[in-house]
Amino acid sequence: MSDHDHTGEHEHGHGGYDVDPSHHHPPQPDLEDTPFSRHQLMQMAVTGLLIEKGIFSADEIRAQIEHMDTIGPARGAELVARAWVDDGFRTRLVADSKSAAAELGMDIGPIPILVMENTPDTHNLVVCTLCSCYPRFLLGIPPDWYKSRSYRSRAVREPREVLAEFGTEIGPDVTIRVHDSTADMRYLVLPMRPAGTQGIGEEALAKLVTRDALIGVTLPRMT
C-alpha cells in the first residue's frame, strides 16, 4: 500500500483520526477531493467486501458496535463495590476474576484478567507498554491517554511523576507496582475503599469507582 510522503512531519498526536479541519495536515494529494481519509476508505472497502463474501453481515457489525457501546467502566466498578462490602467475594475476585464476575452474571471475556489489590503498603498501576491491551470486557474501549506514547513510555519508569500528572500523590513509603499488560493477560486494580464510606450502600459505592481508579491512575474519593 503506497503512502503519501512527508518525512520530517511528526506533528501528529496519537488519538485517532483527526477531524479538526484547522489542524495542519501534510499535503495528501490523493485525498483532496474526498471527504474520506485513506484509512476510512479502506475500512469501508474491506467491510463491504467481507460482507459480500459472507464472512459477516452488516447487521452483525451494527450489533457489535451497539454491544461495545454498552460496555463501560460500570462493570468493573460493580465488581469493586461488591468486593468492598463482601470480604468473601473480594478473596474470590482476587483469586479468580472470571468465576467471581460470573457470580454477578458478568462475562469478563476470553482473556484472563488479574485483579491487583491496593493495600496501605502497595499501589497498583496498569499499562500496556507494547500496545494497548486493556480489560475491555470490564472497562470498555481504552481512553486515548492509555494508548499514548507518553503514558506507555513513562508509566514503567517514573510512575510517581505520571500519577502526579493525574493529581494522584502516593506516599513515599508506599510501593508502586506497575503491571504491563499483554494480549494474553490483562489487569484490573482493586482500589481501597475510601475513608468515610461506612454505611454507604453498594450501588452508591460503585459510583465512586471511576475508570481511572480501576487503571490505578487515580484513587476513589468521597465526593
Partner: protein, 105 residues
Amino acid sequence: MSERRHHDMGGLDAGRVDRDGHDKAPWEKRVDALMVLLGKRKILSVDELRRGIEELGADAYDRYGYYERWMASMTNILLEKRIIEVSELGARMAELESGARTESP
C-alpha cells in the same frame, strides 16, 4: 542483545500525559467491530493484529492514528491471507472515493 523496536517504548523518555480524549468516531467504532468479528470467526487474532501494526514501520506507526494503525494492519493481513485481493480492494476504494459507490453498513 537485539535492538529495541519502535513499538517497544517502555522506559523511554516522553512528554507529559495528555489526558484529553476524543469520542470515538463512527468509522473508528466500525474498525473496532470489524476486528472483534474477525477474531470471533478465527480469521484474525489479536497477536496477528499486533504483528501487523509492528510491521507498519516506525514512521507510519508514529504518523497514523490508533485506529488507522489497526485498519492498515488488518487490511495487510487479510491481503496476505488472500481473504481479499489487492485488485478488488483497490477497485472498491476507488469507487468509494469517486462517489460511484456509497458505504454499505
